[in-house]
Symmetry: C2
């Protein structure tokens, strides 16, 4: 199973892969206060309207709008102040024509009131009276019951990933428990006879395992649970046993292959033997990351990542993170790339999508400039120095200095 | 202590505040594999060079470059193959003039070799011989010892926040423990006589506590530890007692004020009484978020946030997150806003910096368009629906349809 002669573009490779993935995460119920970053498994419906009562949006005077008709600085309306709306309680009075009540932001409108005059447009008159210096229309400075959310409405649909604002919305409605997709467990298998654990002192020719740790960090960031299976020798039987176990115990299996072509081909053979349909994509037209292998077995996504740490990490972003979203049935929000101006010429093979590590800095005209980090070794430090990854589209043969490109910003 | 007449721009307010903060997080040592999102408290030095030996960047043949001089398709050089470099071990042979060795990506160059010819530019000749079809220069396709990182060099400076790539770099060097800033503890106090816990059924006029939960989520996301102090009644003595306790136990104290002007003024009085220098900023020229109070006591940052959930959350981004970075001595990476095209006219008061919730969508020409979400109530749902916050700079009186603006993208 050598690499395919026809390398797929990354987006097409991703779609081919995910279409064959039948596995999905089951739902579990968790406290809403701890659900940050989780994906809703069911629609959340509003148990009551928001706001649950007509409330004032400002500090001022609750009035009957008709009483303010024609009021101005020159010709104020005079209203009798019959009370002050308490915070946190319903007013125990209503407004009759010609009456007003002091009200604070968030206060409940008394019966009879239909608008609020901002305090800036009022003036103290005689005791028990207020001057209204500006007319208001019905509903002015009032947030009507249900204006934000009607009772029974879908507040957040299934598939929504919860940020701080969504958690606030759940709390506002008293929704304390939510059904979310379980966290996907990601089996991580490192291979390579030259690879030793980070705690080992590498002998000449050996390198420490990096990919298990970068993958684990990215999986955690995406809301998954990494499950490392250690470093497996470059033998088909050893890799097949580890991969089969991981496939049974996890929701997605990632194998970081050895760096040579022969071990990559061995990895592809083993992943293809895990079950039907097996390897769907062997080789993606991108740099770094060409030798990526995408397979499906037992309905679950299986990926063979290049052993090179930069390639592996870039392809985690291109394939593993979208697959984790897919497993959780997430409806992703827009994740725009940053438009940038390139500082130097950057060549690229036509037909191939490149991702270049870059520094970002803001130019005097406000445009963000991307300065490529040139590297030969493909070691992890080129990426650790980068603020982002510049995308060179497949239909370009590189980008020239001064041209516009797009950067995936690598912030936390 | 009413709001200042002269409202500070947010950036100036932030600088005024942070300059008075003397408190910093102490360092603690944690396993590097679990240090994602933490800020380095000390420089990390390379214990050995990376790579630790001259290694091949490709699959091919290790050679002495001089032996390939003039080689081409038409006139290949013929070299004797004296061995294959094993993966994960030093070769037990060297190259004499006229000799080559099979080598895999990542393999260690044998003594005498100074370049590698890619396998694509070689051809099998007679047994024990290889044809070299392209000349190479010294160092071609070789990553020299220390080329990525010299021994003793600063790999990552103090103040760097660790992403997956940095954790990979630490593992590559066998740095298993790192000194990082302790996680800042953030005391969160909700006030407001109208505010009840989310599990309560609000009586008419009452609202559920939202801010404790949105703040907690944002603090956790920034690597801090939220410590809620519950809902404190709108009485100066109660608030003063809670704030003094939080100041003693935490690294930053955030109070979400009640929504009326009178309780905001009470909050400012109490925060000013916590210690010198007290309140430094009372009122910021931004919308939402004008009533924000910035104080310092016992060298620690203290913030009074507007009670309105959208205002509070926007101001967490403008003030609390930068303060947490400051406490950890973080050197922040660039966090660019997204350039967007506005779809409708959006007015704004001159001199005031506005942040508007927007939807993002990509137009046919590839530009991201921002569609403002109009809202009156300022309730949390306007923000929960948003893909980002559009910044309207203080020197603009709004933005017109088709004009370019910048958006803070609210993704996870």
């Amino acid at each position: 199973m050598p690499e395919f002669l026809h390398l797929l573009p990354p987006e097409e490779a991703l779609q081919t892969w995910l279409q064959a993935v039948r596995h999905r995460m089951a739902a579990e119920t968790v406290p809403a206060a701890e659900a940050w970053g989780r994906v809703l498994a069911e629609d959340v419906l509003a148990p009551h309207p928001m706001p649950p009562f007509d409330r004032s949006a400002v500090d001022g005077y609750a009035v009957r709008a008709a009483d303010t008709y024609g009021a101005s600085d020159a010709l104020p309306a005079y209203l009798a102040v019959v009370g002050e709306v308490p915070m946190g309680a319903a007013p125990d009075f209503g407004l009759q024509p010609g009456q007003a009540a002091l009200i604070h932001t968030g206060g409940m409108l008394p019966p009879g009131a239909d608008a609020v005059v901002m305090v800036e447009y009022t003036q103290q008159a005689r005791p028990g009276e207020v001057e209204i210096l500006k007319a208001v229309a019905v509903g002015d400075n009032v947030i009507a019951e249900g204006e934000d959310v009607a009772a029974g409405a879908v507040v957040f649909p299934a598939g929504r990933r919860l940020r701080a604002a969504e958690i606030g919305g759940l709390m506002a409605l008293g929704v304390l428990q939510v059904a979310v997709a379980r966290r996907p467990m990601v089996g991580i298998i490192a291979t390579g006879d030259e690879v030793v654990p980070p705690e080992a002192a590498p002998a000449p020719g050996q390198v420490r395992d990096i990919n298990t740790y970068t993958l684990s960090a990215e999986v955690r960031r995406a809301g998954g649970v990494p499950r490392p299976y250690g470093i497996v020798p470059d033998r088909p039987d050893a890799l097949a046993a580890a991969a089969a176990q991981a496939l049974q115990e996890c929701d997605l299996v990632a194998v970081t292959a050895g760096s040579s072509a022969s071990t990559r081909d061995m990895t592809a053979e083993v992943l293809d033997g895990l079950g039907e349909p097996g390897v769907l994509v062997h080789g993606v037209n991108t740099k770094p990351g060409r030798p990526t292998i995408l397979a499906v077995a037992a309905g679950k996504p299986v990926i063979g990542l290049p052993g090179n740490p930069v390639s592996a990490l870039v392809n985690v972003g291109l394939f593993v993170l979208p697959a984790l979203a897919h497993l959780q049935r997430e409806t992703p929000r827009p994740r725009p790339l940053l438009p940038v101006r390139l500082t130097v010429n950057l060549p690229s093979a036509s037909g191939r999508e490149d991702w270049w590590p870059v520094h970002l800095r803001r130019a005097a005209d406000g445009v963000w400039e991307a300065e490529p980090i040139f590297y030969k070794s493909n070691l992890i430090f080129a990426l650790a120095r980068a603020d982002g990854l510049l995308k060179i589209p497949a239909d370009a043969t590189g980008l020239a200095a001064g041209e516009t490109g797009e950067v995936l910003v690598l912030s936390l």
